[in-house]
Symmetry: C2
Subunit: 336 residues, 2 copies
């Protein structure tokens, strides 16, 4: 493989000049530049990103930290990130986080611009100390669907989302409304599910109702687990007439449970989800839509801005809207 000095020799110039051509420095005469470019062409020269990175102290790479890459919502966000990075000179390195230990390792390793020039963190609240260290090291960070002190983030109002879903059911006339979410305590410190539950409770209270512990259940974030839990809910003597699931994946579990129990949706039970992943439109699921793809795209753009403008990069917070998408899984309860 040709190196910069091969090119220099071939063009009959010094290496500094070749480097200047590479970096579009204005202080190279037209004639020289042409000679150098010709030499590059002939030798099929490509600069080494590694060497360039080492000497410049940046590696034209953006790191993406995603927990539980198996979630459909994470994938949709990833797509947005990929789209935004597409025309940028940055490569995307994927760090999958499966456990808190994993997360800590990655955060520790990313405190230098050596592995990534900037960091995108999805859904993962970074431990404050790690975050401070990374920011202190001058590595720009943008959080997507997570909160942290003093860093830009792309978020939604999960409490409001919970309210939106629940108010919709209330407006249809439901009074016994179940909730299925994820365990509020979790090793990563995810908060979305707890906040959505809070919104659910608040909306109930607005309507003069109180949270009924028997109607609130937790399950892992997958269809099977949600189905199991939902089955129990639907088997209650006085079963809810509607269920709000804190994610679409879980909502599909509720649909499966209803179907298994011989219940009609929305005739016997209404179901609302959260996210609006691809599967939801297919299933006709009423849901609270959050702009997943957009969140990734916008987060990546914010990071690029920070990487570019450098200094003028301050902690902006971008809140994305939530919308109720009414499809065919919600209706007024049957007259009892």
């Amino acid at each position: 493989m040709a190196t910069i000095s091969d090119v220099a020799a071939h063009a009959g110039v010094g290496l500094g000049t070749v480097s200047r051509v590479l970096n579009n420095s204005p202080k190279v005469s037209v004639a020289t530049r042409a000679r150098v470019m010709a030499a590059m062409e002939i030798l099929d020269y490509r600069p080494s990103p590694l060497a360039r990175g080492l000497s410049r102290g940046r590696c034209h790479t953006v790191g993406l930290l995603v927990p539980l890459f198996t979630h459909a919502s994470a994938v949709e966000r990833l797509r947005g990130v990929v789209a935004a990075l597409h025309d940028s000179p940055y490569d995307l390195v994927l760090f999958d986080v499966e456990s808190p230990r994993h997360r800590d390792e990655h955060f520790a390793a990313l405190t230098k611009r050596d592995r990534a020039d900037g960091l995108l963190v999805v859904s993962l609240p970074p431990p404050a100390r790690d975050l401070a260290k990374i920011v202190g090291a001058g590595v720009p960070v943008v959080l997507i669907d997570a909160r942290g002190d003093g860093v830009p983030m792309v978020i939604t109002d999960d409490v409001e989302g919970g309210r939106i879903a629940t108010r919709h059911l209330l407006a249809l006339g439901h009074r016994r409304i179940g909730y299925i979410g994820e365990e509020p305590d979790n090793p990563f410190g995810f908060t979305a599910t707890a906040l959505r539950e809070q919104g659910y409770v608040e909306a109930l209270q607005e309507a003069g109702l109180t949270r009924d512990g028997r109607l609130v259940r937790y399950s892992r974030h997958d269809r099977q687990a949600a189905q199991q839990v939902a089955s129990k809910l639907l088997a209650l003597r006085n079963r809810p007439t509607a269920i709000f699931a804190s994610s679409d994946v879980q909502a599909t579990g509720v649909l499966a449970a209803a179907s298994a129990a011989g219940l009609e949706v929305p005739g016997d039970v209404s179901v609302v989800g959260f996210d609006d992943i691809e599967i939801s439109s297919y299933a006709g699921l009423t849901t609270v839509r959050q702009p997943l793809f957009e969140s990734g795209r916008i987060g990546a753009e914010m990071l690029l801005g920070a990487l570019d403008g450098e200094e003028e990069h301050h902690a902006g917070v971008r809140q994305l809207p939530l919308d109720l998408v009414v499809r065919t899984t919600t209706a007024a309860p049957k007259a009892a």
Copy 2:
């Protein structure tokens, strides 16, 4: 940030020794090793991957080339890759390919071990010249769902898959079987869809039938496009009693078209897909299952093996099985 010579100074040893400790060289006395490790600990030292990469000529990174990252099947393969790379020391860099020009740029840039030590290519038949160049440069390549000369690959028998789907419909008694695939000519040179069509035709011939051009339609690989095309097929005076779609995404479009036309599935029309993506089990779609996740995992493992064993790495071909998964979208045709 601490460098190797900071550590050396702190431990009172030479840099060579620190490097030897880093690389687990046996020729370091126990006492010295302990002193060095202590110094690293105190200084919170982390070696620079960039510098290490530059000096060793490898960058502990695996590149993944994925076209049209929007496809569900590509994502599922990506998951397999991520899983396999998880315990390896390699980082994953994602290269999204949106156009042939893009593809060529990436291939050209990847001919050095400078950007990636090894390459995973998904569904993208590499131009022979580029491939030869990369292999010639000593960069191991594994193709997933694509074929190329002299490189290891993970593939399935798409022709057989087409036969499986079609035979299933024939066995149920269907005689007028439509096919919806993607345009056989495409800028990337994808072959899967054409091969599946070939299997479809072969199976028809086995049954003494011939391909009827009016029953064969092409659409883009998305639900809406497939739905449009399927609608036309279903509007034929003598419409097919079954449709084989060359991907599940398109099959869901067929289901939508049937529903829009007021036709029952499988009563009025049977539908078979291909892939078995997540949505398919949800939709109850009968389909030809290919192990997507596994293909990614196995491909990545093959690459790791090649990266590891280096020399003994020769072109193995791993063919993954296809299975018919019968769900609820296929049945015998109504007696006319």
